[in-house]
Symmetry: C2
Subunit: 240 residues, 2 copies
Amino acid sequence: MSEVPEVPVPPWRTSPRSRSPRKPALSQEAIVTAALEIIDAEGLDALSMRRVAQRFDTGAASLYAYVASKEELVELVVDRVNGEVLIPTADPDRWREQLREAMFAIRDVYASHRDLGRALIGAVPIGPNSLDSTERLLSILRAGGLSAKVSAFAADLLSMYTVTSGLEMGDQNTMHGATDEERGAYYTRVHDYFASLPAARFPTLTSLGDALTSGDGDERFAFGIDVLMLGMIAYTDRES
Amino acid sequence: MSEVPEVPVPPWRTSPRSRSPRKPALSQEAIVTAALEIIDAEGLDALSMRRVAQRFDTGAASLYAYVASKEELVELVVDRVNGEVLIPTADPDRWREQLREAMFAIRDVYASHRDLGRALIGAVPIGPNSLDSTERLLSILRAGGLSAKVSAFAADLLSMYTVTSGLEMGDQNTMHGATDEERGAYYTRVHDYFASLPAARFPTLTSLGDALTSGDGDERFAFGIDVLMLGMIAYTDRES
DNA sequence: TTTTAGCTACGAACAGCGTTCGCGTCAAGT
DNA sequence: ACTTGACGCGAACGCTGTTCGTAGCTAAAA
């Protein structure tokens, strides 16, 4: 390969074509969209300001006109995603089904965005869409006859469980290898590892055998919902 | 201040004192200890290979003889911490109190290590101490008469809730400012924000008022335990 | 005792990160 | 036509995890 430097393009007149090369205009909305695309494609860790800027053929510095920090960008992405969650309007006669629907809706959305759920583990999301979801979830609980205190506490508990479950499902696409084969191998390995534990030291663990690794995501999630709902109902009964 | 460079210490003979300046010998155990100290002092994000190495007056490269990667180091720290969790040996007559004790024990340990809980959000910890804890937790559940499947699923659910709660408590020391004053200001701000929401759009949210932010960590955690236990019991009753 | 072999410790470098600073350009106002 | 102001963004700073090659020590061999 020759090391001769390329002849520079005359700078005094750039063609209109190269001056606006299908470059999407910068805006907070467009930045959030690009960030979410990166997360969906490669996971939360792959998100970087430089990567986002690359999509607009510019440097990371340009983003800071529309977004205060990476932290704020992630918050905006979270709120965008919370906008995808569809929670039914409360109907007192159907509150149990509705709660179940709502929880599946939240979980499915987070499962479809890789490990984005990691971003809101310890945080209270306060974007407009997040507030809408919280409002709807709370109104379903209230429609079910739960007290203010129980509703407030339960909302926390429920969203924690839901997001974590969605995170675990979505994560499976990110971690432990990209292909089905690799993931299958990983879970077989975990299963075999539990099976290989010394029964003398871990009698319960080994006696449970397949129960530990059995059940797909839906089954485990449905179990959690049932336990939480039964618990909330029993708690409310005991309260009065 | 003078800018005169210091006279260098003659290098051809270092005193024995400076040759081994109370430098703790490198070992996996010592490295894990140092890492945990950093996490306790400054949080999980402050943990870096260089920071750990600094404590041994050496460079980050030296650590890789004892630890394969930062990821493995964190796993080792998690298992060390799981060793601090004391779960009682199962007694069928006291399984409810024991389960409660166990959950408080786990939560307290994680609350005392800042945001370390973040490290095991989507992960299945498989270190020896972690396995011991799981074994003990499962045996309590089994002693309570729960089926294999329910025990297995519930163990997941319980540790998820427990670690997340501990994380949130421990996190309060890390985030939102270091001093009590700053933290108080943060929570007042959150409270005021919720109170300031338009009641027309968020009727439930605003009507709940103080219920949303009321209750300290212990109260909220105890509520979660009650709901989970009542739910597990109701689920088991329904199962048979 | 001298030489050599092996091995551990670790400085330096690499590629990437979030964020800031200040220069250059371009558009609107005078 | 000239000035002024705002905005875009390249380059740089200090950080990250990890790898590579070597310097220096220890212990075995001659």
